[in-house]
Structures are given as C-alpha cells and as structure tokens.
Symmetry: C2
Subunit: 141 residues, 2 copies
DNA sequence: CTGGACCCTGGAGTATACTCCAAGGTCAAG
DNA sequence: CTTGACCTTGGAGTATACTCCAGGGTCCAG
C-alpha cells in the first residue's frame, strides 16, 4: 500500500490527475489511512497503466471508464472489448481522412503561390481562400 | 448593405457565430443602422468565406485572425501567407502521424484478440493495455 | 517540538469554437 | 395598432482533460 505521491511517481501522472481520475470514477483508492490519506496497491498501478495506454490508442476517459467496467465484469467477454477497439479504429481512420483532406487543400494553396514576393493584393492563396471552391485550380486570364 | 441574418444566410454560418467572430476581432460590420443593427457588405461575405475555407484547411480562429491581418497589410507579401500554409501543413502531417500510431496500436490489440468468446479475465486486449509496451506481441507460455 | 515534505477538500481556471438564453428594442405588413 | 420576425446586449453553458490554488491537516527526521 502506498500513498498518492508514490502512485504518481510509479505511473508518471500527477497527484492532481489521480484525484481527477477518482472524481471521474476511473479509479478508487484500495483503502484510506486513518488520517484520510488515499492508499493504493499494485492493481491501482495496473489500472493507471491501462488508462494511459488506452489514451494512447485514442480512447477518451469516458470510453476508458466503460472499458474498465468491462474489465471488471465476469459476464463480459473479449468480443465486447474488441468491438470497441474496432469502432475506435474506424473513428480514427475517419479523422485521418479529414486531416488528409486539409493537407491536400493546403497543398493546392501552396502550389498556387507561384511568386513569394508578390504583394498580398495579388496573393493567389488569399484569392483562393475567398473563392468558393477550394480545390479548384486558378484560372489563367 | 444587409443585416446580420442576411449575411448568415449568405454564408451559411449562424447569427451567433457572426457576433462571436466580431467579438474575436475577425470581422467588423461595415456600418451600423440608426437603431444599432449591424450592416454588412460584399467584403464582409468574402471575409466570412475566407474564414470558413481557412478553417477547412485546419487553421484556428487565432491563426485566421493573423491571416486576415496580412490580407489587409500593404507591406505583407504572398510569402508570408505561404509560410503559414506550409507550417500548418507540417502540423497536420504531425497529427496524422500521431493518429496513425494510434491506429497501429489498435491493430495490434485487435489482432491479439484471437477468440471473441473468451471471458474478459483472459482477454488479450485488456492484458495488453495493462502491459507497459503496447506494441509488443503476446508471449506464448 | 519543529521544519519540511506530504496529504486533504473544494473550487476556479485553461483552451477552442461556438450555442443558447433572457430581456428588451425595431421594423414592416395587414 | 398589433403581430411576428428580426435585431440588440450581456452572460452562461458545452465538451475534454487536466492544472493550480488556498487553507488546512499529517507525518517523520533531527
């Protein structure tokens, strides 16, 4: 059994974050000392690692709360967890597609700008941003 | 000259958003009616389009405020805008890389789960999330 | 027994980009 | 003149994941 500072050191998150996770129902101290200090054990550390790794996979704390609940349920099965992982992957791929669209839009803008020394009045990038269709190429006069 | 509702209809953003943009120094009405109504012109519409397209490229409102400033400056040149576009593209590519890492981590988890019907106690995904190294494959016993 | 390191609670603040609301004034049609 | 659509301001609320703070208690070494 160790206090919050030890768990923080062990897991690499701050005391404040641990208390915040408790407030968010992600973790509960294994026990409390007579003085009211939070006391944790190895399972607490595993739980925090779980949270950190799930975050690194893109899960939000709300989703992680669910995963942790599944983890504790006897009747839950591996498939429940797998389903969530697959769903999250789809969400992430979706986001990646959105960002690639941004990246492409920026490419067009950057290409459009042939001459860096032109004054802004004639800036192709600015003109393109004012136009309706971002991906349309510039018209030659 | 038209009122806020017309500009909203013309540009596809809400009245509230237009007022919010004003508060954020992104746009100012061209004029005010005697009753204090905001009045806008074609340049206002161009400005809002500019904002929307810049957002679609991933720029934040704070960054767009800067772009709009450049747009109004005589001494600014096309290169200033281009630099910002290139910078933003790098940021976005960075984010895409981070998300691809998440996607890959999820792939490992999904792969690890060979049998969906297993109880959570033996769930490989949950075990992997508790482990330190997410990308490490499961050890055979 | 004192100093410093640690812990507690409750609440406020951060960033981003809106969105909604109340209470009230304005305008044009019928 | 009334009705309904429109406009005004100012302020609060949303989501996410923390972070920081004040004011106070606890614990242990020297």
């Amino acid at each position: 059994m160790f206090t919050i500072g030890k768990l923080a050191g062990l897991t690499g998150v701050s005391n404040d974050t641990l208390r915040y996770y408790e407030q968010e129902d992600l973790i509960r101290p294994a026990d409390k000392s007579p003085a009211g200090y939070r006391l944790y054990d190895q399972e607490s550390a595993r739980r925090i690692h779980f949270i950190k790794h799930a975050q690194a996979c893109g899960f939000t704390l709300a989703e992680i709360r669910e995963l942790l609940m599944l983890r504790g349920l006897d009747q839950a099965c591996c498939g429940d967890v797998r389903t969530r992982a697959i769903e999250k992957k789809l969400q992430i791929e979706q986001k990646i597609r959105a960002m690639r669209a941004m990246s492409r839009a920026l490419d067009h803008l950057i290409e459009d700008c042939a001459d860096e020394t032109k004054p802004v009045k004639e800036c192709a990038i600015i003109a393109a941003l004012e136009r309706a269709n971002l991906s349309a190429p510039i018209q030659s006069p």
